[in-house]
Symmetry: D2
Subunit: 342 residues, 4 copies
């Protein structure tokens, strides 16, 4: 059994981790922390998890005997906790943004924090199995990808070399449910009256997930223009709880051969247990992935086949956070990648 | 022209007052206050009111030259401001709860505040025109009714004497949109993730609107049992922005004559410009009143005609707050009651 | 393994059955029918079930080799299919309303159908395990309870004898998500524009679940007044997908002892694997049960303890339909009651 | 007074026309037709319009004495009615799509209809006042613009000549509430269970509004590449009732001067009574325009100022349909353009 701790278990990602891991055949949930709920039985604090007998500890709980810790805490807290836990010999899957960007300057610009764990940063493996599967089993520290980068990269990476033929930066028009945008935070911006019957973009040309997409796109494909401005990424806030739809626009210098593109994309989906490609003519929808670790994709092009649209749907708490984190855990501990996730 | 100030104009009720009064033919909006937005043009801070050129003042703005002030501020603030403004010679329409309950002990129990303005409390007129129309024109201080009491009383008062025949306390099962339950507050309880796709009761047997309903029911009808427990009132939180539906259950000692009841109810609706009774067989819905100052009602009974259901729909920001406040202003200043409201 | 067929597998209840049963350790899903999708792989027609390789058959599919058939089809169709399948030796769990009401006259009044299977009707067992657990294992035909009756009865039955002291009919004010009110039907009433940002009661004093509640309440408790009018039941339509909250009002002839009532209720919840009682002061919410077979309940009373409110929350597709149907299957085939459901 | 008929008055656009015109100081609503509701008082059929005493006529109502007819009926019906009404001497404002596309072949391809009124088609004026104000006063037949083209063109036209410098087709990623996508239709696609908590694109590279955007963009700006593929337009379905947000992506061959662009856009907004430009740093939201005839826009660009995003928000039933139709009526009859609309 894999002995597991969840640090920050009462937030949305933490609760989703509890939900998944209590049904995982090889995981033994030993410690779940929450300062707010410390001392309460999980099932009492959250009746939707009524059968979970575990009691919340405070954040400074002892983690002896745990093999791995999931960090579902704010950025600054992860920056402090991850090095400490690694030193204690635990492996760490960090759901925050602090171990994803290779360049500390870019990090500072987008997160407003000084990076105090540069050694751990260099060691961290970006936990997108579809791109870095080979490196995950030996990783001590996984930087679990952001929800938007997951949705964007899973639509772009299957195209691989073809991206060398882009005539303009890829445009990612992403729409996220509230749980991917800081839900359960005491924040006006996610108040029901602000979100319900409303729709808007936010942080246009300024979201911290932009450099994350740019960095891994450059690492994995031949598309590598000047870093800043390599992709245009616009997040929007949907009046739903869970799910991200990313509508990705690609403009190529010359027409692509539609069947060849589809075959390439289909081959990728065939290889990947959590990526699905819809038949031509059908579009991805967020309801196809809610509660799941799946990414459902669809492919569309204009008459000339120079303008393409790739649509990806993921659950921001599933493949965009907790689900993907468990997928990474499976790989780290030599389990079947889909265990506990299908 | 009636020269108007709105104190607390950037909250939901305040913004609704701005919206109504800028279209009111006889109102001249002179002062709108908001500490948060002081110095900003209304139309810039709230683009949905793009044409409103007025600039927000801070709460200590001078109100010289105003005839009436609407108070759309928290309870404690109203308790302080109302006496001060009355002394300055303004008439006051207070949307908070502090001038509605006659008994300071009941007030203390439900609001957790000591009543520091007993004289003003005695003077205040409960601004439900359907019950107290005669007293409103001369009032200096209007206690604008709570949203739930408005929905409840407009379903009960038309029955008048018949309520003397009740065999059990009336039950008011009320469901409110979020704007009636403290929207735009930085509060977990109205976070989108708590409200969306959810539904729940709150403050069961403990809501501060219960004694308000009980007091005015006793004043206006023969139904007057022991005060505490006179009505059973359960508020619920709907995942919508605006609207309250109140399903009111009445159990009579003996059957009523259905046609007589309907005629009585219809006569009330006929007299009242903002009360509408649906034809038999049709039920009230909140969409029938959103954005309006109307109360739409429907009447239902069982085969024996001993058990009755009255359903009322109001917009909590309309007839439940800002709309009714303007209706009161019209009456106070000798205008047609419906002016600016239809 | 229990070999299973689902007749009408592409509706909301049918899809939920597929979702549950593909994860059930002892169920082998062999046949799923849908005229509309016949010939399509389930996972292609419904990408949210992407891994389900089964292919939809048409409704006249051969069911040889199946042990049990779930019927998730319209009333008239169930009335025809159930006898036919029983004759073929299958056991049947029927999710329609046609085998729940003992009296064919009452059935005709509420369903507008002549009952053409009176022998099967007499044989059918009402599949509410909390009330009829003993009779389910041997049943050939289970009448799976309606969603509203499940929510109502699970709030009332724990009180048992105490209901003999009622001074007025119990009032059940129920609010259901759209999937419990005929979702995925091509019907104006469930069009997004009718439901969203709206709320209303429907079929007041006329819903077909009223006699179902009345019948089983009379069978299981001492509360048995004249049948018609025994309970007051008002269903409402919530702008959410899944979940029913039932606010149940009870008025007793004399005060009850609160601790005794709570102990009795708690003992019931303790015995029942799917019934949970919240601690005093907390209210049931539909988000506590979405996607689950659980019923979460809360108990509230006024100062005098004569007026009581019981609140129950269920998922109309879970405990209110597919979940409960699988719970019945478990009991019918000698499995642990919670298998595949927790 | 302008004497008005609304043909198809019980649909969403028709009802919005009634709502606006009953408050319009110079309009006299004389005929409203609806086959379904013929003979019913408007205020009884739709209690949200409780004070409207007019009675619905059937579609073949006599229109003598009317000056103008709004057609809010399906495409085929408009194609038949418009010529007939013009012959009777009425002026016509048609809200369908049949008089917008100049080329009957393109029309046939996208609407699946043969154009049977070519003469009227040539005569029709596209009722986007911001582009064709000069031609509207004398028009007999107005083709009221589609909701998506309105949102797209109001974001593109202010840029005028600059569009000559585009390096790739403009991309319009549009998200619409359900009322803009065929609400109140008995159609699975707008069933609550399909839309709620979901989000999806539809008709990718195939929506009939694409050629409408392309045609008028070519007429009004120097951007005029090969017609098919001139713009990339992707509509999405939002789980809200009203509102369209269009996120428009522009990639220029060389950087633009940000201040100059903003000044140009601001000058356009300054001139246009219904177009508003938000201050830099703020993004347009659909809640800023719901219930209004306004278009709120925001301007964003990347560091290099080669990639630009224009965001426009309109209410699809306001500026996207009924509101704009009344704006056209005002211009046709020599009234102030904003009369009855602010």
């Amino acid at each position: 059994m894999i002995r597991v701790a969840i640090i920050g278990a009462a937030g949305l990602s933490g609760l989703e981790l509890i939900r998944i891991l209590t049904h995982h055949p090889m995981a033994e949930l030993r410690v779940v922390t929450s300062d707010r709920h410390a001392g309460k039985r999980v099932g009492d604090a959250f009746p939707e998890l009524s059968r979970v007998e575990l009691v919340f500890s405070s954040h400074d709980a002892k983690l002896e005997g745990c093999d791995v810790a999931f960090l579902a805490i704010p950025n600054q807290a992860s920056l402090e906790q991850a090095p400490r836990l690694l030193k204690q010999g635990l492996r760490v899957i960090d759901l925050s943004g602090v171990f994803r960007l290779a360049d500390p300057d870019v990090f500072r610009t987008h997160y407003g924090l000084e990076h105090t764990a540069p050694r751990e940063l260099r060691e961290a493996v970006f936990g997108l199995p579809e791109a870095f599967r080979a490196r995950i089993p030996k990783a001590r520290l996984i930087a679990n990808p952001g929800c938007y980068p997951t949705g964007a990269l899973l639509g772009l990476l299957p195209l691989g070399d073809l991206l060398g033929g882009l005539a303009a930066p890829p445009i990612i028009d992403a729409k996220s449910g509230v749980s991917g945008a800081g839900g359960r935070v005491e924040d006006d911006a996610t108040n029901f009256m602000e979100v319900n019957e409303n729709f808007k973009a936010y942080k246009v040309f300024g979201h911290q997930h932009t450099p994350e997409i740019e960095q891994y796109l450059a690492e994995c494909t031949p598309y590598a223009p000047a870093r800043d401005g390599a992709v245009v990424f616009t997040p929007h806030l949907l009046p739903i709880g869970r799910g991200i739809l990313s509508t990705i626009y690609l403009r190529f210098a010359r027409p692509l051969e539609p069947e060849a593109v589809r075959r390439r994309f289909a081959a990728f989906a065939e290889r990947e247990p959590f990526v699905h490609l819809l038949a031509a003519g059908r579009g991805a929808e967020v309801k196809m992935v809610q509660g799941l670790n799946d990414c459902v994709t669809s492919l569309h092009h204009d008459a000339e086949a120079r303008s393409w649209v790739v649509i990806t749907a993921i659950d921001n708490l599933g493949k965009g956070a907790a689900g993907q984190a468990v997928q990474n855990m499976n790989l780290m501990f030599g389990r079947a990648e889909t265990e506990g996730l299908v």
